[in-house]
């Protein structure tokens, strides 16, 4: 049981490691976008 818990925790931790390390969370805010959302499906907009 403990091994299963440790395994699951490890998998979650690994995912978290990747997510955190690829894009630093403390970068200076120099480029901000306001996404243009669509109320339709994307095909209708192309």
């Amino acid at each position: 049981m403990n091994k299963i818990v440790i395994l699951v925790f490890s998998m979650l931790w690994i995912e978290a490691v990747n997510a955190q390390t690829v894009v630093p969370s403390n970068a200076k805010e120099t480029c901000v976008v306001s996404l243009q959302l669509s109320m339709k499906n994307g095909l209708m907009e192309q």
């Binding site: 490691v17 630093p24 339709k40 192309q46």
Partner: protein
């Protein structure tokens, strides 16, 4: 916004190139639009786009995307993708000089061969939008030559019907067998891919095709915008692909901060704690549709890392590089925080984009045509073994008298067939 919901495309025809951020914003808006749900699946897989066939005797063909299905449902038709190495082996318009990607290298994910036999290569698709297809079709007819890709919606009617605001777009996508990744974190699609049979550790042959669910690991988003016939060349990667080499960026306190290389954790193309010295080694190439191990190697998974983080040289404290790294990181944060955690696109990041002042680079004067943005940009899944180059190293023209459309390597090989309005 709704998880996996629709995003509008950027307006390429009204594009403002006031600063670098504008280009990165254009790229991310386009990526999110391309991966938005369309009536037939993702937008890039809808009737507004064509798949492009692998080269057959130097010719490529438009492949119409699957027809309509119920909104939000994936089409039942399968896509046809090819392995990277089935790119034309005859000299391309410019490829015989730059040859970016033409080493015909084969990339195999870490988990694909454990246990054996190997279950996945990296598979590649090429796609263009309808504007590009119409332009390519019309230009093949005996009409006045348009030397470069249009950067406006209106060009002489005899040459080119009015296009939509997305202008010319060309995409290249990279995929792995979805069974080797956590599929919940990936955009997926069904596709027909070449089937390979192991003959020895050093040789695999092809035998027909097999249908697979594929998971997206990379995408080049390339297109013209107002004033830029050279196209903006942007690329996106799944966050779990490969670690970055070390780089510097500015933190919220404006302090230059080092982000060291780290391969800890789980990566699709790098062993946990794998070293840079062991990485980016081409283990196999394709020769005459067979996969052949390179000298001293067996056909196997290999380690990969991103040599030029955010398209800048590694470990560079150069102000231009630090600022550019910071811009792209900031842009990614801005995008990601607007997506719900359950949106699969939250797992993809833009790793950079590159363009010029509007001049189409020639092969002979690349140093004289300053590149702007991520000037050392490559995708770890698309140019794994050519990361020392950048997009324009190969996608350039012979000289300024050459047709500007030569920056697109598929253009000359394409046979007319784009859908005319």
């Amino acid at each position: 916004m709704t998880a996996n919901g629709a995003v509008n495309p950027a307006n390429s025809a009204q594009f403002s190139d006031a600063n670098k951020c504008d280009f990165y914003k254009w790229a991310s808006q386009m990526f999110l639009w391309l991966t938005s749900p369309g009536a037939e699946g993702y937008v890039f897989n809808s009737l507004g786009f064509f798949d492009i066939s692998p080269s057959v005797n130097g010719q490529r063909f438009f492949i119409t995307n699957p027809g309509p299905t119920a909104p939000g449902k994936m089409a039942s038709n399968n896509n046809t993708y090819a392995v990277h190495s089935t790119k034309p082996r005859v000299p391309e318009v410019i490829g015989e000089f730059g040859q970016a990607g033409s080493t015909n290298g084969v990339l195999i994910p870490q988990a694909a061969c454990s246990p054996t036999p190997c279950t996945s290569l990296v598979y590649y698709g090429v796609h263009v939008n309808n504007n590009y297809a119409v332009f390519a079709t019309v230009l093949k007819e005996p009409l006045p030559v348009v030397p470069s890709f249009p950067t406006t919606t209106s060009v002489p009617a005899r040459v080119f019907p009015k296009s939509t605001d997305t202008l010319m777009m060309e995409l290249k996508t990279s995929w792995v067998d979805a069974s080797i990744v956590n599929v919940a974190d990936y955009l997926t699609i069904n596709a027909t891919v070449p089937k390979f049979i192991k003959v020895t550790d050093k040789k695999w042959t092809t035998s027909g095709t097999v249908t697979k669910k594929l998971a997206l690991v990379g995408m080049h988003v390339v297109g013209t915008v107002k004033g830029h016939p050279e196209m903006v060349w942007a690329t996106f990667e799944h966050k779990g692909n490969a670690p970055f080499d070390s780089y510097y960026y500015k933190n919220a306190s404006d302090a230059v901060t080092k982000k060291p290389y780290s391969s800890a954790g789980n990566w699709t193309f790098m062993a946990t704690n794998g070293t840079k010295a062991s990485a980016n080694i081409e283990m196999a190439t394709v020769i005459n549709d067979d996969i052949i191990a390179t000298k001293g190697n067996t056909i196997s998974a290999s380690n990969t890392y991103i040599m030029n983080p955010w398209g800048s040289l590694p470990d560079s404290k150069n102000t231009k590089d630090v600022n550019n790294n910071t811009l792209i990181i900031s842009l990614n944060h801005s995008v990601l925080k607007q997506l719900k955690s359950t949106d699969k696109r939250v797992n993809y990041i833009q790793t950079g984009a590159v363009w010029t002042d509007g001049t189409i680079p020639t092969f002979n004067n690349i140093p004289d045509t300053p590149l702007i943005g991520s000037t050392h940009l490559a995708n770890s899944t698309l140019e794994t073994y050519k990361q020392k180059d950048n997009c324009f190293s190969c996608h350039s023209i012979n000289n300024q008298a050459s047709a500007g459309v030569g920056i697109s390597h598929i253009f000359d090989a394409l046979q007319p067939g784009g859908r005319l309005p």
